[in-house]
Symmetry: C2
Subunit: 476 residues, 2 copies
């Protein structure tokens, strides 16, 4: 009989807070009839964001091409979508139901390369692009491939998206946390990076890569070009590969901020010896097509035989799902001016992005008015990493704790807080300890995806809850 103790210890070790116990509790409450506001995960279409019409029209035609042979149906689809659906079936006659080449349908990889050329003004090649089932699968592949020895590790931000810590644990590698600079709008800081890598080396950990999430999850920060240059130089100095998680590249709301890809900056710096793994996805941006699990990795500065190993790795799972591949194609090659669907596309796109920007501001302003809570208004992505303060626990002396004890104590504090918030208000957020935070600080991550009126209501409830919770804690 298998018991928990007979399982792979790497699996037992891995934690994924975004879907952890608080979320399970929320689902249980919901089954009992409670209204839950799910702010735990970047899942826009679960929070009433509408899919963009042009993508869904294309998928409907490709799933059931017979629709194109009836004159009455065709009238319901924009002409350019029908024309393109026919073109796709001509270039890929197997449709959505057959395995594709392992790295993905060739003309789609070419379209991704063209998207990168257009976005960044740099060369790109379809043969160094692999289409994936969402960006998560891409990140998992890179981490699996680069961990050679048991003491190899990846530098990951604190706070980070727990996909990274979980995957490193699953593959038996070492996490090398580096703090993001909360006082410096969550940018990366070279001194902190250096301290972190030196500490790892003293512990005989061998760093092989660094993960950077830009725009940031959970921080909502957008990295400046200078900050990216610094990271590339740091990676070069220490012979690290860079995993650039750029899935929020379309989600930049702040007027002063601009998305720079690592590929572009590295190309402009003429750096050719730092391996780069850039991730993108259809799940975020303005599409929010999480359920379709589409995305890609672009590889740079790798020898061909290393690239071949990544293709082989992908082949063991055969290929990414084809509907996700098609959705990725539509993401990188949307309707053009003059197409019948162009205006709808632009209107829908701008509505989603405008709405997100307004909600980021509403949430940010509202929370900053709550005494004992603060955050930078998110510049991008879909999240706010809210700092909150609680009165010190009675009879608790954190200064006498070991670092591990203190981490555990503070993790319990923010988890208890988030659980109480859920029970009292139905608002489901994730404790900061699930992403990592500096000792002595407490946070939670919330998305700003719910409809605007719910966000306003949420800010009010947060305020009442927080005041009440702090008062109770002080009275205990």
């Amino acid at each position: 009989m298998i018991t928990r103790d007979s399982l792979n210890p790497n699996l037992l070790r891995a934690q994924y807070a975004v879907r952890g116990p608080i979320v399970l509790r929320a689902q249980a409450l919901e089954e009992q009839g409670r209204h839950i506001i799910y702010c735990n995960i970047g899942n826009p279409q679960a929070l009433k964001q509408k899919p963009l019409s042009y993508i869904r029209q294309m998928l409907a035609l490709l799933e059931y091409p017979e629709l194109m042979s009836h004159s009455q149906t065709v009238q319901l689809f924009p002409e350019d979508i029908v024309v393109r659906a026919k073109e796709i079936l001509k270039r890929h006659p197997h449709g959505t139901g057959a395995y594709t080449q392992s790295p993905g349908i060739p003309f789609i990889r070419e379209a991704v390369a063209e998207f990168i050329r257009r976005r960044d003004g740099i060369p790109a090649n379809k043969d160094t692009i692999i289409l994936t089932d969402g960006a998560s699968k891409g990140a998992q592949s890179v981490i699996l491939a680069l961990l050679k020895n048991r003491n190899d590790g990846f530098m990951i931000p604190i706070p980070q998206y727990p996909l990274y810590s979980a995957t490193i644990d699953l593959q038996g590698g070492k996490q090398i946390g580096y703090y993001l600079d909360e006082q410096g709008r969550w940018q990366l800081n070279r001194d902190i990076l250096t301290q972190s890598i030196m500490k790892a080396k003293r512990e005989e950990i061998n760093p092989v890569g660094i993960v950077v999430i830009n725009p940031g999850n959970p921080t909502g920060a957008v990295l400046t070009r200078d900050n990216i240059v610094m990271v590339v130089e740091f990676a070069q100095e220490h012979a690290l590969g860079i995993i650039a998680d750029e899935v929020y590249q379309e989600n930049v709301y702040d007027r002063q901020s601009h998305f720079f890809s690592f590929a572009k900056v590295m190309h402009e710096m003429k750096v050719r010896d730092v391996p780069l793994f850039s991730l993108h996805s259809i799940s975020k941006g303005f599409l929010g097509e999480c359920g379709h699990r589409g995305g890609y990795i672009e590889f740079r500065n790798l020898p061909d035989d290393v690239m071949a190993e990544f293709v082989k790795l992908q082949s063991i799972s055969l290929c990414a799902n084809v509907t996700g591949q098609i959705s990725t194609y539509m993401m990188v090659a949307p309707p053009k001016p003059g197409d019948q669907s162009y205006e709808t596309y632009i209107r829908e796109r701008d509505a989603v992005l405008g709405d997100l920007k307004a909600k980021a501001e509403t949430l940010g302003r509202g929370i900053n008015q709550i005494s004992g809570m603060s955050l930078d208004v998110p510049q991008g992505a879909m999240y706010a990493f809210v700092r909150f303060q609680l009165p010190p626990g009675r009879d608790v002396d954190v200064s006498s704790m070991t670092p591990a004890e203190r981490r555990e104590y503070e993790a319990k504090r923010d988890s208890d807080y988030c659980l109480a918030l859920l029970e009292e208000t139905g608002i489901c957020v994730v404790p900061g300890s699930g992403f990592g935070q500096e000792p002595g600080t407490l946070h939670f991550r919330t998305t700003f995806l719910p409809p605007k009126d719910e966000i306003e209501e949420m800010v009010k409830q947060l305020k009442n809850f927080h005041e009440h919770y702090v008062r109770e804690l002080a009275e205990v």
Copy 2:
């Protein structure tokens, strides 16, 4: 700079012959304008098998629900499909674009449980079912979870589907091959299993599980109920979990053969202490929806806390793609008698299965008439594992070789053969060494998926090629 030597050695070790060098060569020839008959992979829709209408109609409606608000479109869809599409959206209002619960949409898991109850007459529970991106991902999860120590291993058939060997290598476990009994219609043989596990134990390998593929890939064999009972008893005796790869359960052509699930047999044996991981998929059967990457694992005889670890593992990749989940739903809950789409469903289903049966016989009979080639006419699945003979190599004494040298020598022989077959005829098959074979035997695996007239032509070409190849080899 990363080189091949700096990669994870487990990745370098993993091989996946079904998409190996011969397939890459076939793609290159195709790009030069050659007509290639792809018999290397079970990918029916790439070989002109049509998708079943009811599945695609459902996917089209769910991708673009607006179709249901136009009276003229609705006339193009069977009434029951439209009604069910509306029901699905009522039970799952997020549609295809949102992440679902990690193990999958609850009502779909319930439908899978009901499918198992109906198929086998045994209890089943939605909470021990996880929807996956095809069966491959399910197998990968189980292998990752059960490999605790470096000397842990899985028993896998020889010949086997290389997903298993590749995944075990990737996760750093040990392969424990057991030969299938070619003289005994490729059933499992207890003596061989015992010899194999004893040998592994002598080599200090700790067996944790056994993989069984039924109906067989690449063998096309269907296991008898007695054979399954034997395997369960063997697993019980040696405290092994069973991975039952049952993705070809609908593909049984032989009148004397019948598919028995491990779940049913184990339930009837009242065995409650052997962990069972049953895999199913939408890619095979009569759907052939490989591109949609849908499937499920059903878990039996696991404690709840172990089951929870599998759910956590799934959560790290968020969830299976929703289109694949919906397709799985339609597979386990097809149209019923009385539904408008029922007759079309039955007609399309029977056409696919009848066609596969006829092609299995045509290929089997044809090949058995070639001097120097033989096979059992496949009872099920989509493959024939064809045995062929070559004259002994000049100046080669296999008896003086080590086992590893001999394996390498024979692998080169069957690879050279398959490559020459490809170059001369455009027929793409996979060498037997990619699946494993007994020393002194040579095989190739071919699907019988091409259209019937192509199969007849293929048999003729195989005959000519083989005679020619043997003659040339004898003359060298």
